[in-house]
Chain length 580, copies 2
């Protein structure tokens, strides 16, 4: 795969070396379409992060270029994403007020920390940590976060003030202020949402009806929302709706925010670390999932470890642009793919186009109403609230459905970070519970065969002095002591037995805790006058056992097959009886 | 097992109903021997907890009686234990100064919390949580704690002041104050340690030489330390060594300390919870281990869940006696067994004997020097420092040896609680790493058989359009995404394949995350023109799969055996080729 050091350091080399001038034309067209469509989304998600909407464009320049150079997906679009943006807002809020320099600085710091962490995870190859986020936890987390985001947008849609970032303060402040609803804003919001929904559904048909070629329809079918954004902006400008209380973006600051080291101290830095970590892994998991979906379509390959590097660089780039944490987004990537992007070059070209927009076109955004951005956010978030998932899970596994619901409600009531942590801890506990209760069967020979099966499911033959136990689980610390208990119970209930065989065909792994438990079991069984034997130990497990105390203290033997074990031990029991 | 409600509520009923008056005589003798031998230990461990030595006797009354009634071990002796005592000291120290009423109150509160937690764990059947303590973590924890305990005793052995409860403050304060060493105390300490060691080794031979019967030797062989304690106490009294700076127990308060609710507030209570939890589980794990060792000898059975109940009641009893957290101890139980204890009745009788001691014999302890108690503690702790264990582990598994060392050094440098938590978190991470990197083999048919083996170990036959992959691990959240990556990589490297078979004979369990990953894999493979099939799915896993989305979207089939799968698919590939 990695044919030289250059490719390892700069994966872009792989596609750059075969990149042809002819590709440039197609990529430029794709980039123009993508840039036009992605701008409103970028503005909206910056607002979600509690930052001036224009910051969303800053966050789309360097991150996109750096990911194109260091990432492994050919199609993933990196920039502001709803979930990480709102996580940014909840992380920054305890330290600063929205709109202040302090707020911008802490958001930048968060991007820097998040990027650094992703790089560290990449260098130490710790990407597996993201596996902690199980499907039910992610599902509950995303549904609840999307609901919170929508609730948070209501203030922009109604033109009122609400506060808080969890369910109860949001709803109660909304109830308190709803009578202050700004009617022009409300009307604008309803109009925006309605036209966005209609555009989404009927714009391609409209284009077709207008006689556009199928290629044009394919390219611009999803760009109806741009018309709505442009339309509402013009309407606000023409009718001076801002004077009636409709909130607009207004003049854009000409200087980009930078990290003012004086504004932060070490204790803030330390307190930001957990948030930065959670933003990093949530962003990474979402991004890799999208990248893999698209990679599969083109039989390409994603290297998760290199993805950590690419996203890490992107976030550091975002910090350098004075923006906030970014990641690979689902809706951004859909737009990119639909614009016809084929190579990471589109990421570079569209970044340059956004830079041009920033330099020359910001006056166009002056009258852009925040209500339209909130409408865009609300519509896209509504798709993420997935109730079917919990129903389906409930049928599959009650425990995992409960995991989803716990994550969901903790996020709603106590915020995204607590919810995520609660979900991860609970899934580890559930898993621990599961492996702590391994399936243990007493087995016997199926008559006339060399097969040994569970005595509760089959009519099997057993020798009165020999008991065989099969453990259907790896032996490690989470179940080592359970094994001790269960064997002790079984032996105390079967006082006639002289030989206990542990059939190990389902044991793929053994650790020191299990080894120690087995040593204890050997001694205890020996105290009870029972010999312990092992059978069908797998190769890798046997390698581990060699040279350990266990094999020295083992009172019985290690048999290659269960059949050999029974044959030999039955014979020995017979001999002993004759001796008596 | 549990033949009626009475036994379930009061396990003692099982032995009480068959208890005969004749047993009483033997048990009384055993109890007297045990009581004499256990008193110095109890005093020493109370001192370790930072409490007046006499509290160790309070902690040996109700806890012992309650455990006898509610526990399941017939021989386990419950009372103050070194590790939990020193954990108590580190938990209480941040809130109070040794010797104050506040200190005693918080220790009582800790016993109450610890007892309540054990009861809750028992009622909710959460005993499996203690499985989090893997063998390397416990080993590193015990060795480091024992070293810290010994270092903490040096102040009593030298008669100087030291402070802190971790390595650096202990050593540095010792270096600072060592010139203040009290010579009489030092002499006494050296004499005590020497005679304790000699008594341990030669007392049984001495008794034999004096013409004692072998039964007497067996009963009193271990009680040499009592003579040393008595001897030093008398020496201190006769020569008034206390006036030369030798620290003695002195007069014992006639009132037992009680929980003064006024001395604690809710925030203290909240901050004590983690410590109480850790003390509970460490105590429980140690206690159950001892109980099981003895239960095995007599082919008895221990019910870990009922043990939680027994130890929970014991701790609540300790709080009622004005004492501190207790548990089942290894050295106490050894003494109990060697005294000839056969039934839990000895726990009850010896508790009453200790009560009598408290009521009438405390003046005997007036001149008892703390240096002798510290000598007893140091000698018994030295046995717990286990260096051989890390050497053995290193050979078995480097990773687990590192786990031991990390726990060891974090305990030494940052204290017992942090060390324990670091160890648990690290062992979970190691485990997660392991399951995140499951063994995945590409398998083929061993020529002339129906067996399918790893192509890297066997010369096997493979069809160019069919690839079979065997996963040697349960499929769950920790490796679900890894499976996606690996399959994606394999498919991108084998562009000719049309059928991918997942051989599931080593999969004992599947969760929703793995299910979702499989669904994604099906769609992605289908995008790449590859059909996914399953073979040899185990019964319980198949039960789970039934009625899920996966079976509906599966592009291939589920085959009972791998052989059937290959036969059918090879035929199909052949047909397709003929068609072309």
């Amino acid at each position: 795969m990695k044919n030289n050091t250059l490719v390892r350091l700069l994966p872009a080399w792989q596609w750059l070396k075969t990149y042809k001038a002819a590709d440039m034309q197609a990529d430029t067209i794709a980039s123009i379409v993508f840039t036009i469509m992605v701008i409103p989304q970028s503005l909206a998600y910056a607002m979600l992060a509690g930052l001036p909407a224009i910051t969303g464009l800053y966050a789309s320049i360097l991150p996109s270029i750096l990911y194109s150079l260091f990432g492994t997906s050919r199609i993933l679009a990196v920039g502001p994403v709803a979930i990480t943006s709102v996580m940014t807002a909840s992380a920054v809020l305890p330290f600063a007020t929205v709109g202040t320099d302090q707020y911008a600085t802490i958001a930048i710091l968060l991007a820097l920390l998040s990027g650094t962490m992703l790089l560290i995870l990449s260098i130490l190859r710790l990407g597996f940590l993201t596996n902690l986020l199980s499907h039910p936890v992610i599902s509950g987390f995303i549904s609840a976060s999307a609901l919170l985001i929508i609730l948070g947008q209501v203030k922009h849609l109604l033109g009122v003030h609400t506060y808080g970032d969890t369910l109860i303060p949001l709803v109660s402040s909304l109830a308190k202020h709803i009578h202050n609803t700004n009617i022009p804003t409300l009307v604008l919001s309803i109009a925006s949402i309605t036209s966005l929904v209609l555009m989404k559904r009927y714009f391609p048909s409209l284009l077709k009806a207008l006689g556009c070629s199928s290629k044009t329809v394919q390219l611009f079918g999803k760009s109806g929302s741009i018309l709505v954004v442009a339309g509402t902006t013009i309407a606000v400008g023409v009718f001076s709706l801002d004077r009636l209380g409709v909130s607009i973006i207004g003049a854009v600051s000409s200087s980009i925010p930078t990290l003012k080291i004086s504004a932060v101290n070490l204790s803030v830095l330390k307190e930001l670390l957990p948030s930065a970590f959670l933003i990093s892994i949530v962003g990474f998991v979402g991004s890799v999932s999208v990248a893999q979906t698209y990679a599969a379509k083109y039989r390409q390959d994603i290297d998760p470890n290199q993805e950590l590097m690419g996203l890490g660089m992107a976030n550091i780039g975002s910090a350098l642009c004075g923006a906030f944490p970014v990641t690979g987004g689902f809706s951004r990537t859909v737009l990119n793919a639909e614009s016809g992007a084929k190579s990471p070059m589109t990421g570079i070209i569209s970044a340059l186009l956004i830079l041009l927009t920033l330099l020359f076109l910001t006056p166009l955004f002056y009258y852009l109403p925040t209500a339209i951005l909130s409408s865009i956010i609300s519509i896209s978030m509504l798709k993420l609230v997935n109730i079917g998932d919990v129903k389906q899970l409930w049928r599959f596994s009650k425990k995992e459905a409960i995991l989803l619901l716990v994550t969901f409600f903790v996020v709603l009531l106590d915020g995204m970070e607590t919810g995520l942590i609660a979900g991860v801890v609970l899934s580890l506990l559930f898993f621990l519970w599961h492996t702590s209760h391994p399936h243990i069967a007493i087995v016997g020979r199926v008559p006339g065969t060399e097969h040994f099966r569970n005595e509760q499911r089959f009519a099997v033959e057993k020798h009165p002095h020999i008991l065989t136990i099969r453990i259907d689980e790896n032996l490690f610390f989470a179940n080592a002591r359970v094994l001790e208990d269960r064997l002790q119970t079984i032996v105390s209930q079967n006082t006639d037995i002289k030989h206990l065989i542990l059939m190990c065909n389902a044991v793929n792994m053994i650790d020191a805790s299990a080894m120690q438990s087995l040593e204890k079991i050997v001694v205890r069984l020996s105290d009870s006058g029972v010999k312990l034997h092992l059978s069908e130990v797998k190769g890798p497990v046997m390698d581990k056992l060699k040279g350990t105390q266990l094999l020295n203290t083992l009172t019985g033997e290690v048999f290659l097959t269960q059949h050999q074990a029974i044959q030999k031990l039955e014979k020995r029991c017979g001999d002993e009886q004759e001796d008596q």
